[in-house]
C-alpha cells in the first residue's frame, strides 16, 4: 500500500494547467512572439547553412576582394580574400549557436546535480559553495587564457571556458529553488512515505525546478554567444579559416577603413541573436512568474 499517488496527483494537473497558462501568456506578449520567430528562423538557417549558403565558406576569389554589399552574386559583399560574407555569416552564426548550446549544456550537466545536492543535503552545501567560490574567482576570459595556455585555442576550449563560467549561476538558482521546494508539503509527504532521497530529488524536486532551469538556460545562451565571439575575436576560440562571427570581426578590424560593412554586419548578427534570446528570456521569466504580469 503506497500513497505515492498523492504527490503525483498533486503535481501533474497543476503542471498541465500551469503550462497552458504560461504558453497563453507568452502568446499574448508580442515581444515574446517576435523573438521566438527570430530565434526559430535563426536556428533553421544555422542548421541548414551548409546547404543554404550560396558559396563554400573557404572559397576565395582574389578577383573580387572587398566587394560592397549589393554586388551581384554577393548580397552582403566579400571580405579581404574575396570570400562571400553572407555565407560566412550563416556558417559563423551556426558555430556561435553550437558553442553556446555546448557551453550551456555543459554548465547544466555539472551545475544542476550540484545545485540539487547543495540545496537538499545540508552537509554538502558548504563544500559546493567553496567550489562555486573557486570557479567564480577565475573570470571566464582568464579561465580561457589559462585553458588556451594548457590545451591550445579551439572551439572546444571556448565552449569549455564559457560553460565552466556559467556553472556557478546554475548552481545558485537550482540550489535556491531546491531549498524552496524541500520545504513544501508534497516533498514532506513523499519523505514520510519512505521515498529515498534520490527518488525525491529526481521525481519531485527536479521536475518542479525545470522552469527556473529553463529561464537560467535562456539567459545563459546570449552570454555564451557573446563569450564565444570575444574569444574567437581574440584568437582564443575558433581558429581561422573556420568561419566564426568573432574571427570575422578580428579580420575586418584590420581593413575597417576600407570595408566598414565587414566590421558592421557580423556584429549586427551577434547582437541580433543575443537580443532575441534576452528578450525571449525576459518574456519567459515574466510568463513563469506566479505573481502574474508585473512587467
Amino acid at each position: 500500500m503506497t500513497v505515492l499517488t498523492v504527490p503525483t496527483v498533486d503535481a501533474a494537473p497543476a503542471g498541465l494547467t500551469r503550462r497552458t497558462r504560461v504558453l497563453r501568456r507568452l502568446r499574448r506578449n508580442p515581444l515574446a512572439v517576435v523573438s521566438f520567430v527570430v530565434l526559430a528562423l535563426a536556428t533553421i538557417i544555422a542548421v541548414l547553412s551548409p546547404w543554404l549558403a550560396p558559396y563554400a565558406v573557404e572559397q576565395t576569389d582574389f578577383g573580387h576582394t572587398f566587394a560592397a554589399p549589393g554586388t551581384p552574386g554577393h548580397v552582403l559583399g566579400t571580405d579581404d580574400l574575396g570570400r562571400d560574407v553572407l555565407s560566412r555569416i550563416m556558417l559563423g552564426a551556426r558555430a556561435s549557436l553550437q558553442v553556446a548550446i555546448l557551453a550551456v549544456a555543459t554548465s547544466l550537466v555539472i551545475g544542476v546535480p550540484l545545485g540539487l545536492a547543495a540545496g537538499y543535503f545540508r552537509a554538502w552545501d558548504a563544500v559546493i559553495s567553496r567550489f562555486t567560490d573557486l570557479l567564480l574567482a577565475f573570470p571566464f576570459l582568464i579561465m580561457a587564457v589559462g585553458l588556451a595556455a594548457i590545451r591550445g585555442a579551439s572551439l572546444t576550449n571556448a565552449a569549455v571556458a564559457v560553460g565552466i563560467a556559467q556553472i556557478p549561476g546554475v548552481i545558485r538558482v537550482v540550489r535556491s529553488d531546491t531549498l524552496r521546494l524541500k520545504s513544501l508539503d508534497f516533498v514532506a509527504a513523499a519523505v514520510v512515505d519512505g521515498a529515498s532521497d534520490l527518488w525525491v530529488l529526481a521525481r519531485h524536486i527536479l521536475p518542479n525546478a525545470t522552469s527556473v532551469i529553463l529561464v537560467q538556460a535562456t539567459v545563459a545562451i546570449p552570454v555564451a554567444i557573446l563569450g564565444e565571439a570575444v574569444l574567437s575575436f581574440l584568437g582564443l576560440g575558433i581558429q581561422p579559416p573556420a568561419p566564426s562571427l568573432g574571427t570575422m570581426l578580428a579580420t575586418a578590424q584590420q581593413f575597417a577603413a576600407r570595408a566598414p560593412w565587414a566590421a558592421v554586419l557580423p556584429g549586427v548578427v551577434i547582437m541580433g541573436l543575443a537580443l532575441a534570446f534576452n528578450v525571449f528570456g525576459d518574456a519567459l521569466r515574466d510568463a513563469l512568474d506566479p505573481k502574474g504580469d508585473r512587467r
Binding site: 559553495s129 567553496r130 574567482a137 565571439a229 547582437m271 528578450v279
Partner: protein, 318 residues
Amino acid sequence: MARYLITRAWQSALTLLLSTIVVFLGVRALPGDPALALAGEDRSPEALEAIRHHYGLDQPLPLQFAQYVGRAAQGDFGESIRTGIPVSSMLTTALPVTVELAVLAILLAAALGVGAGVLAAVRRGHPAEWLANGLALVGLSVPHFWLALLAILYLSVATGLFPASGFVPLLDNPVDNLHHLILPAVILGTGLAAIIMRQTRSAMLDSLSSDYVRTAKAKGLRPRAVITHHALRNSLIVVVTIVGLQLGGLISGAVVTEQIFGLPGFGKMTIDAVFQRDYPVIQAVVLLTAAAYIVINFLVDLLYSVIDPRIRVTGDPA
C-alpha cells in the same frame, strides 16, 4: 556581525588557498616539461637544469608548492621568458592603467544605470520606461568589442574626436589621460550599466509598493522626497552588490577593451603573454586575478553589511 565576518574571512582564505593550488597544478598540467616551457629560447641542458633548480622543479610537489606560495607572497612571480623583465615590475606599470579604466567604467555605469533604473520605475508606462528598458536589453546583448570597433571606426578614425589608441599616464597629463580613457571606459561600462539599470528598476518597483513607502507617503512626504530618500539607499546596495558579482565580467571586459584600444594595461599584458607562451606572466596574471576577485568580494561583503543592516542581524544576505 563579528561571527559573520570571521566566517567570511575564513571562507575567503580557503578559496584563495584552493585557487593557488589550481594555478600551481595548472602549470604542472602544461604539455611536456615545464622547464622547457619556462626556458623560452635557450633550451640547452644546462639552462634547463638551472631552471629546474631555480623553480625547485627537482623538489617534491608539496615543497614546490610551499616555495611557490612563499615567493608569490613576496611579489616574486619570476621573470618574463620573452623579455627577462621581472613580472612584478610589469605589473607595477600595467595595473594602474587597468584600475583607472575599471574605476571610470564603474562610475559611469553606476551614474547611468541608477538614473535610468529610477526613471524607468517611476515613469511606468511612459515612453521613457520603454526607452530605458530597450537600451538596457541592447546593452546586455551588444558585443563590447564590436562596439569598440565601431567607436574607433566612426568616432576616432572618421572624426578624430577621440584617440583610437594609446595612453598617457594620469600624472603626466590628466586631461590627455581622460581623453584617451573615456571612450574605452564608456564601452566597458555599457554592460554593467544595463545590469545596474535592470536591478535598480526592479528594486525600486519593490520598494515603491512596500509598506514603508506607503507610510512615508501617508505621512505627507512629497513623492520626490520619497523617491530620492529610498532610491538612493537601495541603489547603493544594488550597485555595490552588482560590482561584486560582475567583477569577473569587468575584468574579462577590461582585457578585451585594452586589447582593442591598445591600452598598456593588465589585459593587454595577459593577451600578449598567451600568444608569446610567456608562462610566468600567465601564471601571475591568473593567480592575481583570482586573488583580487576574492579580496574585493570580501570587501564588498564588508561594505554590504555596513549598508544593509539586515545582514548584520541575520548574518545572511537578504
